[in-house]
Amino acid sequence: MSEDILKLLLESFFKILIPGLTVTIPLTLIAFFLAMIIAVFTAMIQYAKVPVLRQAARFYIWVIRGTPLLVQLYVVFFGLPSIGIKVEAFPAAVAVFAVNEGAYCAETMRAAIESVPAGQLEAGYCVGMNYAQIMMRIVLPQAFRTAFPPLFNSLIGMVKDTSLAANITVAEMFFATQRIAGRTYQFMALYLELALIYLIFSTVLTRVQAYGEKRLNSYGGSRN
């Protein structure tokens, strides 16, 4: 009996890991990259107090943070086709995760940008730099350093949240595991195995974060 389970676990390990490497990770990376672009723009619009766009940014964050991720996935994948817009599962997932994560990361970035002392902006003006130059070269680099740990937090969270994409037929790790479990009825063993693989992914990311923070600190040291 336990030998059978061991055999199943070994066999299923790669069947779960491979969709992890080919679907979960690409989905996470592409969506997070897009989320970062959305986040920086949304944060800067608010920081610069651009009229109209600023209200639009607040509205976007309000709606996205106020509704469940799973519901957003369903609206895009099952809802849009009913009004004539058909989206493939993977791109739908990328879009939803990017827009969803973008709203949270926008708030992280806004806080980080606002934490850069106003004197940095003033000093930039006084040496003749314009707003865009100061943002790109002085304020945003400092904000990114502050935002790095919480953004990484979001990234790690997102790796695990991608399991929700199984609900809209994206064949990622959770989806693969469900199929094996449905066939073999070894729910406990298989879902623990899946949990372990997620844990491995998260552990790698945690290491990357630690390395990244060390690199960021090595130039400049602690701020006072």
Binding site: E122, C126, M129, Q133, I138, G220, G221
Partner: protein
């Protein structure tokens, strides 16, 4: 001809009058100290003439061009800032840049100077303030006095017509004030035009060519420093100078113990 002339500058914050018609002319090579109790409007005055605060009304004549302070354009502001330097009370060095990068940033980015020329000039400026050996240090690795000297090098690097100093030594530990004042004295001797908001009576008396006493948003008295200190005309100025003298005496007593 004046490098800088300010006429009738007014500024209030929420109905609270901070500057009540300040007028001032600075000639080339002048070193002008602005003295006064806290809350007298000295710092706001300096920030208004470099547009870090928006003045309610007033005229700024800079390098021959006349600007209405209540309605300057972004382009006009930029043009003035390209030809002035500003040294802040809390240094405001770019925290993500080394000392040298702090000095070259305004050259490479704002003035499109090529990197090599900018770095050579940056090193010369750091040498001038005695910070060349710390060129690759980040602000967080420098003492307050060192940071302020780098900030002075940064202001110098862009060849300004005038440098504004906003209480450049007020945030420093007492033992670090001397090194910054020494750099400022050297600049003054080299003929740099400077407008200095300060509490350093020694600097005002011995280094600056002119001194101004401000209170409640108005200039109470101004004149050549020698006269200003030896023979102040206004009773209020005399009172202020006496108070500052006592404070200096107390300070030197305290530091001797």
């Amino acid at each position: 001809m004046s490098v800088l002339e300010i006429q009738n500058l007014h500024k209030s914050f929420d109905g609270n009058v901070v500057l009540d018609g300040v007028s001032l002319a600075v000639e080339k090579g002048d070193v002008v100290s602005v003295l006064g109790p806290s809350g007298s409007g000295k710092t706001t005055f300096l920030r208004c003439i470099n547009f870090l605060e928006k003045a309610d009304s007033g005229t700024l004549i800079f390098a021959g061009e006349t600007l209405d302070l209540s309605s300057v354009s972004r382009r006009q502001i930029h043009a003035v800032r390209m030809r002035t330097g500003f040294v802040f009370q809390n240094y405001n060095l770019f925290l993500n840049k080394t000392a040298l990068q702090n000095v070259t940033e305004g050259l490479i980015i704002a003035r499109r100077t090529d990197r090599k020329t900018a770095e050579e000039k940056g090193m010369r400026m750091l040498e001038k303030v005695g910070m060349a050996d710390r060129a690759d240090y980040y602000p967080s690795q420098l003492s307050g006095g060192q940071q302020q000297r780098v900030a002075i090098a940064r202001a110098l690097a862009t060849d300004p017509e005038i440098i504004y100093f906003d209480e450049p030594t007020s945030a420093l530990d007492p033992e670090l004030i001397g090194e910054v004042l020494a750099v400022m004295r050297q600049l003054a001797e080299e003929g740099m035009t400077m407008l200095v908001v300060t509490h350093e009576m020694g600097f005002a008396r011995n280094v600056s060519s002119h001194s101004i006493f401000m209170e409640n948003g108005k200039i109470v008295e101004q004149g050549p420093s020698r006269e200003f200190f030896s023979n102040p005309k206004m009773e209020r100025t005399r009172e202020f100078l006496r108070m500052e003298e006592n404070r200096d005496l107390l300070d030197s007593h305290a530091s001797r113990q």
